[in-house]
Symmetry: C2
Subunit: 144 residues, 2 copies
Amino acid sequence: MQWFRDRCAEAGLPCTHQRQVLYRALLEAKDHPGPEMLYERVKRDIPSVSLGTVYRNIKTFLDNGLIGEVSLHHGPLRLEANNTPHHHLVCRVCRKMFDLPAEQVESIHLREALPKGFHLERFVVEAHGLCAGCAAPKRTGRTH
Amino acid sequence: MQWFRDRCAEAGLPCTHQRQVLYRALLEAKDHPGPEMLYERVKRDIPSVSLGTVYRNIKTFLDNGLIGEVSLHHGPLRLEANNTPHHHLVCRVCRKMFDLPAEQVESIHLREALPKGFHLERFVVEAHGLCAGCAAPKRTGRTH
DNA sequence: ATATGTGCAAAGATTTTGCGACCCT
DNA sequence: AGGGTCGCAAAATCTTTGCACATAT
């Protein structure tokens, strides 16, 4: 928890009670919770907390790198007719995606077995980085 | 397009004009479009089409395997405090996620260079399959 | 002929935001 | 003291659904 206070100080963020409880909820969670779930957990300590505060602080934490999104693909559904197995290049800024044919990636190997009970069907690879537009110095990409 | 008619017939789906135009829009799209984008494109051919029809048919296509979702992670934002590099196991049915430490996966190799202009930062691996609960015969998992 | 799909509009779910009161530094 | 945050509620965004009419097989 001291780590959290230090990081807030570094980032110039007031270390409010709400933020501490929210961050602790995230630390303790092993189930990759969403905002609604975190709201429920924070409410156990701060019954008066509002969902808006949870959303705002999640965004603040993300912007400052204190926590991470589980994937770059939350938000609107995105689709493709391409049914052949393939991977994706994903731009971390504008979230544009490009196909990467399966044959282009050498097969994946594990060093240890997966946890018992999980039935693996296939590996999907995402190459994360910056697309040409967002890597260029002058362009801004996603604006949110 | 005949492929599409045949698949509809196989699945017992009426092959309506709206569905043909929507499917064609998906075939021609190289940008992994979302529902709103597809709606715009279908409207060029069928100005009276409704957004509800686009959503309904997207769902129908997904349920019948005619198209795919770009990722299993659309929908609500999901978060993690774990900042160490790691991958995920994802259940295709209930979408529960489990962490997979980075060291457990041997490093990824490409057989060809990535397209020029994309600045790769890291590879993220997702192991897709069925979790213990959803693989078991009696349980149902996600119900939608 | 019949089962299913469609357009419309309202509802539901998820996320953002404006505002005045309040808290952290 | 002062700037940022909080709770509240309204708005914005994304997705689903009920209904009456139209369409595909």
